[in-house]
């Protein structure tokens, strides 16, 4: 299997004193093909973020396995992180670094060749249109500006695999569009992307294949056309509702 992402029977169980045992992710399987945007579509609490945190090695799976570009998330977490860019609403930026310093720090710490770091930083600064405020501390930037810097730091080490977890949460329409455009550009560069969202339109626009996640399980996984053919619905929202209601 040469797929960049292979997930098999991935499960994550949490223990909560008031609610007892919670299966946040319940034995999911999926694969991502090279250069595609794979969407994880689900409501809040469906298990998307937990899945992505396991893939990024922040959380350890309770059972099952996952490999990213051939690196096992449990056995070789550093190998995974070296080849992965992880972006989520909870991955904040260092407020006391400037935008340029941020990109440089993440390029270096992810072991991007040191002799090419400066060149890479300049490229990203220009590419994401942050040249004007590249030397301003992140704490003084607006939300939209910060989001651009965040994407730049995610790809600072030019990873082959990128995870975006709800990247447009809290953004206005224009900023959200800019973020989606950036992701499209990354796809066109041949990056493999996992994109988690609860916004149907974003999944429709961006994803080559979509997995509908609910209650920690994948209820369906196919291209948009495939899902349409399976359900007879045109809109993703109707498709999603049909699967989720069928489950409950």
């Amino acid at each position: 299997m040469n797929a960049p992402v292979v997930v098999q029977g991935l499960t994550k169980t949490f223990y909560d004193e008031s609610r007892g045992e919670i299966r946040a992710v319940d034995g999911i399987d999926f694969m991502c093909n090279e250069g595609e945007v794979f969407g994880l579509l689900g409501a809040n609490g469906a298990g998307k973020t937990t899945t992505l945190r396991m893939l990024s090695t922040i959380l350890t799976p309770s059972s099952g396995s996952a490999t990213i570009l051939g690196h096992d998330v449990v056995k070789d977490p550093q190998g995974v992180r070296k080849n992965l860019g992880f972006f989520s609403a909870s991955t904040a930026l260092y407020p006391r670094l400037t935008a340029r310093e941020t990109i440089e720090f993440f390029a270096r710490i992810n072991q991007y060749p040191s002799d090419r770091v400066k060149e890479r930083v300049d490229y990203l600064v220009n590419r994401f249109g942050i040249a004007k405020y590249a030397d301003v501390r992140v704490e003084k930037l607006s939300t939209g500006m910060k989001q651009k810097v965040s994407i730049a730091r995610t790809v600072a080490h030019n990873p082959l695999m990128i995870i975006f977890d709800e990247p447009t949460v809290g953004l206005d329409v224009l900023n959200a569009l800019e973020v989606l455009e950036s992701i499209k550009e990354l796809r066109s560069e041949g990056k493999t992307i996992i994109f988690a969202t609860h916004i149907m339109s974003e999944a429709e626009k961006l994803c080559n294949r979509i997995a509908i996640v609910h209650g920690g399980r994948i209820l369906a996984c196919d291209t948009l056309d495939g899902l349409r053919a399976q359900t007879g619905h045109r809109y993703l929202e109707d498709i999603f509702v049909q699967y989720v209601k069928g489950q409950s």
């Binding site: 223990y15 909560d16 350890t60 710490i109």
Partner: protein
């Protein structure tokens, strides 16, 4: 360890700290400003107070039949003092007072019309006065009695100075008046002696002089050594805490910890960089405070004692540095663990104060005069540095013990750093609302996680009780308390709390019959090998005579034989085996590699025998007993060996047979016989279930 990543992370951490206004202000600016402000204010207010006290003319009253006599006494004493130009009499020379006649001096004092009054009583009046509590409970110890005025004999008049203790001026003026009166009484006595025909100068009856063989440098070293560690710990904790709070708890609050954890940096690299950053900040702040102090001394804002002469040789300075480096590393690691444990900056701040106070307690070990580094204290982190520093400063360094201190502190720092790295790997760092699965599941799974904590608590109780409860100071009581209340009680509690299966947890399994024969062979030889270890350790760390005497005193002389074997052999053999080779081994079996298990269990067993010089031999016995338990899968053979070993030791002691005097050849023979016994056990092994 990727050194480039480590360097990058370290520079990043320092950059973050330097750019945080809160950190810079709290860690550098405030200490730099507050200290001089406090010193200036204290000096200013003290000078103002002195000036005000000296400028005041104090009103007072004198009452009683002997009032005129006292007035004369005051006048003559003042005249004498005014003539005496010694510096020590400055305060009394500047003391200005005037009598204010009053009919009711107590009411005047209450109304603050006067600062104090002097009540006089004739001998008869004084005898009729009720005995006050203060008179009755005066300290009669020879040292104190020498400094106190002699007890009043019947018929001797009293001059009583009455003042308001809660009023500075009243307090201060009355003390000066008392000094003046005492001086007057002394002058009077001398005059009377001369008048009654005493030949010569009464002042010159005895010349009491004192002299110390210690140099000023040694005296200063002894004084500074007592407090140096605690001051350093205070400075490092306060300085390092500001950085530590920001470095992990602050990151959690800002949400950057998840960003950092998704990078290619390994957890141990992140922790090491943070540790180094805290260490650097702690050392820099300590240096700034030291420099501050030096400047204040130079500016004479801080007055050092007149004979202050700190002399440290180069060797001592290097030795001190060798101790302070692991001390700083331990403190930084402690703060890092605290910061990693707390979910937010505020939570970390809340935990800091108790940790701060708790850390100061061992650091104050050096103020205990009888405590020597060559004792179990060498194994207590911070306390060992504190005592070692005092001994170095007093020019009495105990080099082997200093090396042990260095190792203990380094190990402590490493363990704390490992704990921090583990905390950063805990999922609660990211998902604060969820608990650890073991806590939820409870039972045997949680027991494996908590077993070391139980034994740490048991150790602390044994340590504290042995030292502090006089009722348990006798051999029998202490043994019964340790064996039944601590080891036995702890074992039962662990079995009950974690719902452990009795047979599995205590390794209650049968073994093949040749094992019993092997144990009978091993028992006396094991004891001889323990003695050989004791002798070998003596080469590394020479055992003082005092310790040997203390060990000999452990063996009670007045016990009947059956009690001796019961208390020394049977009870420890059964109870300690159930605790150490039972529950402890059961709890650690999956946590530690099989090859290390005997060493760890043996070492913990050794640590429960507090005397430093017993730890080695008992740890050695613990290793052997654990190895036997692992080979046989049962607690019973070890139990028999333990009982026989202790009973053999008791028998040799009772019959005056000194095993320490055996020749090396005997030791070798014992080792060979013991090895044979172990071989028999190995051939008939029924291994301990490790899964």
């Amino acid at each position: 360890m990727n050194w480039d990543v480590l360097k990058l992370l370290y520079i990043h951490e320092i950059k973050m700290l330097v750019r945080a206004r809160r950190t810079v202000v709290m860690a550098i600016v405030i200490p730099a400003i507050i200290m001089p402000i406090m010193l200036f204010s204290a000096r200013f207010s003290n000078e103002q107070r002195q000036r005000a006290l000296e400028a005041t003319t104090y009103n007072y009253a004198v009452t009683g039949q002997l009032a005129d006599r006292v007035r004369e006494l005051i006048t003559s004493a003042k005249a004498e003092i005014d003539k005496d130009e010694r510096e020590s009499n400055d305060q009394l020379r500047k003391f200005k007072f005037i009598e204010s006649p009053t009919s009711d001096p107590a009411a005047s004092l209450e109304r603050r019309d006067i600062y104090f009054y002097i009540a006089t009583y004739t001998g008869e009046e004084a005898d009729a006065l009720p005995v006050t509590k203060a008179d009755d409970e005066s300290d009669d110890s020879p040292a104190v009695a020498a400094l106190q005025p002699p007890k009043r004999l019947p018929g001797v008049p009293i001059i009583k100075v009455v003042y308001r203790g809660n009023n500075d001026a009243s307090n201060s003026s009355s003390r000066r008046m008392v000094s003046l009166l005492r001086s007057g009484v002394r002058n009077d006595s001398e005059r009377l002696l001369i008048e009654r025909g005493f030949e010569g100068n009464p002042k010159g009856m005895f010349a009491v002089v004192e002299t110390s063989i210690a140099t000023a440098g040694q005296k200063t070293g002894a004084n500074v050594g007592r407090f140096l560690t605690v001051i350093l710990v205070m400075l490092m904790l306060t300085g390092g805490s500001i950085a530590a709070m920001d470095i992990i708890a602050g990151e959690k609050e800002r949400g950057t910890i998840e960003t950092l954890l998704t990078t290619a940096a390994a957890r141990h690299e992140i922790v090491t960089a943070k540790q180094l950053a805290i260490c650097s900040v702690a050392l820099i702040i300590t240096l700034i405070q030291g420099l501050n102090f030096f400047i204040y001394v130079k500016l004479q804002l801080v007055q050092l004692p007149k004979d202050f002469a700190l002399q440290i040789s180069t060797t001592s300075a290097i030795t001190l540095l060798m101790l302070f480096i692991p001390l700083a590393a331990t403190i930084a690691a402690l703060l890092l663990t605290l910061s990693a444990y707390a979910k937010t900056y505020k939570e970390a701040q809340m935990y800091f104060f108790p940790v701060y106070l708790t850390s100061l307690v061992p650091a104050l070990a050096s103020v205990l005069p009888a405590l020597r580094l060559r004792s179990a204290i060498v194994l207590v982190p911070l306390a060992n540095v504190s005592v070692a520093v005092r001994e170095i400063m007093m020019n009495r360094p105990d080099r082997p013990m200093i090396a042990v201190t260095f190792l203990v502190m380094t190990l402590c720092a490493a363990l704390l750093m490992r704990a921090s790295a583990r905390m950063l790997s805990r999922e609660e760092v990211i998902i604060a609302s969820h608990g650890e699965p073991e806590s939820f599941l409870g039972g045997p799974v949680l027991f494996q996680k908590r077993v070391l904590r139980w034994f740490a608590v048991m150790w602390a109780i044994v340590f504290a009780v042995a030292a502090n409860i006089p009722q348990l100071a006798t051999f029998r009581r202490q043994l019964l308390f340790n064996e039944f209340a601590i080891f036995g009680g702890g074992t039962v509690l662990m079995l009950w709390v974690y719902r452990l299966r009795l047979k599995e947890a205590l390794a209650l399994r049968s073994v093949k019959w040749p094992v019993w024969i092997a144990i009978l062979i091993a028992a006396p030889t094991g004891n001889l090998m323990g003695v050989a270890v004791f002798k070998l350790l003596n080469y590394v760390i020479p055992i003082p005579e005092q310790a040997v005497e203390q060990m000999a005193a452990l063996m009670p002389q007045d016990l009947p034989s059956w009690q001796l074997y019961l208390f020394l052999g049977l009870i420890p053999g059964v109870v300690e085996e159930l605790a150490f080779r039972g529950v402890l081994l059961h709890g650690l079996r999956r946590k530690i590699r099989p090859v290390l298990l005997p060493l760890v269990v043996g070492l913990i067993f050794g640590l429960f025998h507090f005397s430093l010089f017993r730890i080695g031999p008992t740890a050695f016995l613990g290793v052997l007993l654990t190895a036997i338990a692992m080979l046989t899968g049962s607690v019973f053979p070890g139990m028999l060996l333990h009982i026989l070993n202790n009973s053999f030791a008791a028998w040799t002691a009772q019959n005056g047979w000194s095993v320490t005097s055996l020749e090396p050849g005997h030791d070798v023979a014992a080792t060979i016989i013991f090895a044979l016994a172990m071989w028999i056990i190995y051939r008939n092994r029924t291994p301990y279930p490790l899964n």
